[in-house]
Symmetry: C2
Subunit: 177 residues, 2 copies
């Protein structure tokens, strides 16, 4: 199966390992540099490899879910879902996706979300998957809605860009139980 010129079979989706620290850093610098769709700007992303390794270890200890998407052994996409540590919200997880622009519209986001939903359904505690997305990011919202996520609310003018313009933010949710 081919989607947008990329062989889907050449995309490898797998759980993160400690050895991915450097690849994630490289990927993050690319996506933060590209984007009007992410909160963090590239200048603000200053993690070292050691800090990135600590982050990966922390996700493992917290039993969070982190996937990377590789093409030709390079990380080009990523999903990370975080559990809340407080009891009254431990039935929720919150996730974010980043995919390099050159690899968008090729089904990578769909593969990542499918695996996230499977993980959340099997989890004993999680009942709902939550996300936040810029209201202007129609492509992402389209994919989330395809998987059953519903827009529950918004934050007006939540993002202020460097040029002084604003974007609203939506929060979406999907109940898996």
């Amino acid at each position: 199966m081919k989607q947008g010129g990329l062989q889907v079979s050449s995309v490898n989706i797998r759980k993160v390992t400690l050895e991915d620290a450097e690849g994630i850093l490289k990927h993050s610098k690319v996506v933060f540099g590209e984007g009007r769709n992410l909160l963090t700007t590239v200048e603000e992303f200053t993690l070292t490899i050691e800090e990135e390794e600590q982050w990966i270890e922390k996700q493992k200890r917290a039993n969070n879910f982190v996937l990377v998407a590789e093409v030709h052994n390079e990380i080009v996409g990523m999903l990370n879902a975080t559990r809340s540590t407080r009891k009254r919200v431990q039935h929720l997880c919150q996730f974010g996706i980043s995919i390099q622009e050159a690899y968008c519209n090729k089904g990578i986001g769909s593969q990542l979300i499918t695996k996230l939903i499977e993980w959340a359904k099997q989890d004993e505690v999680i009942e709902k998957i939550c996300l936040e997305v810029f209201a202007s990011n129609e492509r992402a919202i389209y994919v989330y809605e395809k998987y059953g996520f519903v827009i529950e609310g918004m934050k007006k003018k939540h993002i202020k860009f460097e040029d002084g313009t604003y974007a609203d933010e939506y929060n979406m949710g999907l109940f898996v139980k």
Copy 2:
């Protein structure tokens, strides 16, 4: 002026100081113990006085806004507004209020919010004040709406109580510029 049996003149609203660490700890244990309106449960609140002092210092360094409400030299209420550190959201601040049940409905919340709005209006960067509140907390929502806050969105079943029941959460916002 009297409200609900408490002399408003006997309530002292002031900025937090490092010496308040112990008083804030005592206050926090009371409100977290009382509440179906707060995310943190009392068992989860385990800060030491030293950690509370570090928290107060951190708020000062970050130029955040923290008020305490005292009655007879005891802290019975508190407001803290936090700036986001990332550039694209630095026009926002997010605040929370906690008032001991015995001191609710006495105008303390209104005094705290009035001072917050004054502070935010005078600030050079902040354009919007945000908050999150349990949808079931009608008393608080009534006060926020009185000051112009608008419900922008919600998170369905965002809170799961110890008895297995749920509450939605609203997010509200007020533009000060």
